[in-house]
Symmetry: C4
């Protein structure tokens, strides 16, 4: 029984290191994880550069193996120290953590069929490891609330942009025609989106005077409607900020529940707000 | 007389299905209509893609006929179940619904003269069916009010943009001249709008140092005046939002009057707010 | 003395027609002037289009003479009916009105030396007639006040944009060099402004990886600082609007003082707010 | 002792001229410094223009020597008249002032090895003299506070933009491939930033239908998220403005402490707010 308590204690400590950033060990873990993620992304990028990828194949391969093993260890450690491992495994971060380790192992076992396009795509999937950084985004609560509150309006806005693009794209297809690069309606709609959003690649550009006149209208329209999402977010954010100041300040820490993994508890919290499990104060 | 009441009853039910979305049948009708509209737009787009359009001519033609017949049935049903059909026929949606069916019939009767450019344009008119989607835009009341309130200011703003574009376009025509792509004043004005709105296709770009200097001023000016419509909409929207919170909440439903087709009645409404006709609560 | 009073009366009436828009005659004058201005601009534009300008030389020349004579009559009439003609002549609109008539006369007297570049530029000056439209911009008072209030901040902002552009332009000149289109520092600064303002012509684009990396930073910086003028104007406009609602509504009309030409008097004004001259109510 | 007091007096006066702009001599010093800085930047720019730089080598070289000597004198004067010279030397402006003089001297002593690339870069460093203009930016306090208050949120925003760019860049690399200009992942990420920020050079543009579809999503996403920084700055600036109106107005002048160089004292200040040293009222 003493052994079990000991074992329990060991898991609690590991949980504290991995999931929280209030202790020196926890902070160190976070910094190392951050560096490994960034290194991992850089390797995927460098690999894709022709010449560099083939010349330094050995170094990149070794570095990739080290990173894969580190992520594997992290994944196993996270599963061990959480009370409800299945909840973690099927959570957003659980899936990301799993996908961060798997591609290298697959490319090892199916290494013979190296040229397989699907496998190449799989190796590029490692870039999604960057989503592990989402853990560090912190609680930009106001902004997320503002975006949530304006979600419906932004959706309506994008819907209108799409309708306008399809109609104007079709008109431009009729006016400019295939000889000026507007080879079909989907391409004209693509041009219209490029123009409405003020990106303006210039790979397709109207050549006829009438086409240029309509394009001018599209551009001024696009210039005008950029005001709409900005106005919405701005107004919602202001109202979120005002709402915020009427709520007493609450200090949150990075502690997370060892039972259900819920984070951002208040400094003076004794029990998890999500599952009621007793929190242990390091 | 019982038969007439029966007939009346049947029309009322049809009205409920077509114009309202509170009953399961009404919701189903809406979903089917949405799918048919999107399918119809996709067909117009696919038809325009060279190769694809000719290769799959038969399938696209059949699909187009099915959609045309469905829209025709919808159009007839809408006329039958409304009390004042002429008001519907000459309303915005009535005209859109009519134009959604007509092009295919015309191309059928004048099919022999297939190559006619006007007919080709007419077939593309089917893309305007997308305007039927406007029914689903919902009541983004605040936003529309904000835009209405700032309409006059946005008009003044566009007027100023036009004046600035014409003057700067003429100056660029003088500075750069025909050898650098500024072949005439309308084209220079077009370039100026492209630049002021920060689209920047790059099909025409100043080559002389003086032209590039003036272009820099135009760009910084454009960068500055993008703030104006945004500021207007943002401020108007905020004031609309504030006004809104001082009005008690009213729950609107999708019910529409079977006499005058006015929609968005309050949940507790007994009579149409527009014509005073008794509403029937399904 | 009766004759003088009569003469006086006649001038007062002319003043009312030209400077005010409250009587039917005044409105008619405004509409005609608007049409003549727009026609005048269109002629300048059409003239610049090669082929069209030479083919229809006679028609354009005649139309230009008619417009010049109409503007001359307007200019003389304005001088006659104002009490202090010199104040009008040296005012903004007085100079614009004068410049609207003069180029055609000069091209008539120096017509022999048609090919003179300076003369060609002078003829294009006629496009500035569009500034006569400024009279119709109306009193978008809030917006102008908001821009005035944020003038200093927008100037500081543009100053910072310029400093950033010069430094980043120099760095890009060092990194990319002449072989990639960054032939000298002014051109690099031009590229930097094109990029910072998100216009992006693409006539000059970085080719080296380091150059593309710095360009990415420039773009994200530009994307970030576009928020600054927008935020300023938005906040100032909101505060202008709030200030505005605390002031009782005053109805202004288009009447203007026949002594000093000051406009926008209150509906119930008896004397000019600017010079104290008695206003005559039509 | 009289001599020492005299010397003291002389240094105080120099301090007043150089660091303050309330006296005629101080204003004159500021205007001359401004002109010299602008002239210095223009020379660096003109030197970089091929042909011009070599043709007018002598004039540019002489002008550069005059400017270097003026800046050297200014640097020495600033060191002499400040009480704590080391604090000035290692301050931001101290380093900028030093770097403004040094490149010309180095190019003089190592003039033989003119072609040295490092030296050429050093000469271009003179463009950083423009940072001396930062002294004239004035106290746009609200704006800086608004940016400081939204610093954390803007950082989170840029972080999200980077994550999105890396993921979408990798996807575009898979979809478009090397044959369409997306030669490696860093280049694809560069394209993605160009597109997300609505710059759109067009040197790389998607060619496949799927690539153009994803590009459309990227553009609409970019169009949507431009609202976020604008909304943040706008809201923060509004709240800064509101906070500001509740503080009584304080008039600041350009006087600066002769002991610690702290500036922007209140008009009625007797002692430096930073070090408590007695201020002398010129």
């Amino acid at each position: 029984m003493a052994s079990k308590a000991n074992n329990q204690n060991w898991r609690e400590k590991l949980h504290e290191i991995i999931y929280e950033a209030d202790t020196p060990a926890g902070k160190l873990f976070d910094v190392i994880l951050l560096i490994v993620i960034v290194a991992s992304i850089l390797i995927v990028m460098l690999e894709s550069i022709k010449g560099f990828g083939t010349r330094h194949y050995n170094i990149l391969n070794w570095a990739e193996w080290i990173i894969t093993i580190l992520f594997s260890l992290e994944y196993v450690a996270r599963i061990i120290c959480v009370k409800k491992p299945f909840k973690y495994i099927f959570s957003f971060y659980g899936i990301i953590d799993f996908l961060s380790t798997v591609p290298k192992y697959i490319s090892f076992f199916f290494g013979g069929i190296h040229a397989l396009a699907a496998l190449r795509a799989l190796r590029l999937l490692r870039v999604f490891r960057i989503l592990k950084l989402a853990r560090y985004l912190g609680a930009s609560k106001n902004l997320v609330n503002a975006l949530k509150a304006s979600k419906a309006k932004i959706f309506v806005f994008l819907f209108v942009v799409l309708i306008v693009s399809i109609i104007l794209g079709t008109i431009m297809y009729m006016v400019e025609g295939e000889e000026n690069g507007f080879t079909n309606i989907p391409k004209s709609v693509y041009w219209c989106i490029v123009t409405l959003t003020t990106v303006g690649f210039g790979d397709i550009a109207p050549q006829t005077p009438l086409g240029q006149f309509i394009a001018s209208l599209v551009m001024i329209l696009g210039y005008g409607i950029i005001a709409v999402p900005t106005g919405i977010v701005s107004a919602e954010y202001t109202s979120q900020k005002n709402k915020d100041t009427s709520v007493p300040d609450v200090n949150l820490n990075t502690q997370s529940c060892s039972n259900c993994s819920a984070g951002n508890h208040r400094d003076n919290a004794e029990y998890c707000y999500n599952c009621g499990y007793k929190l242990n104060h390091g």
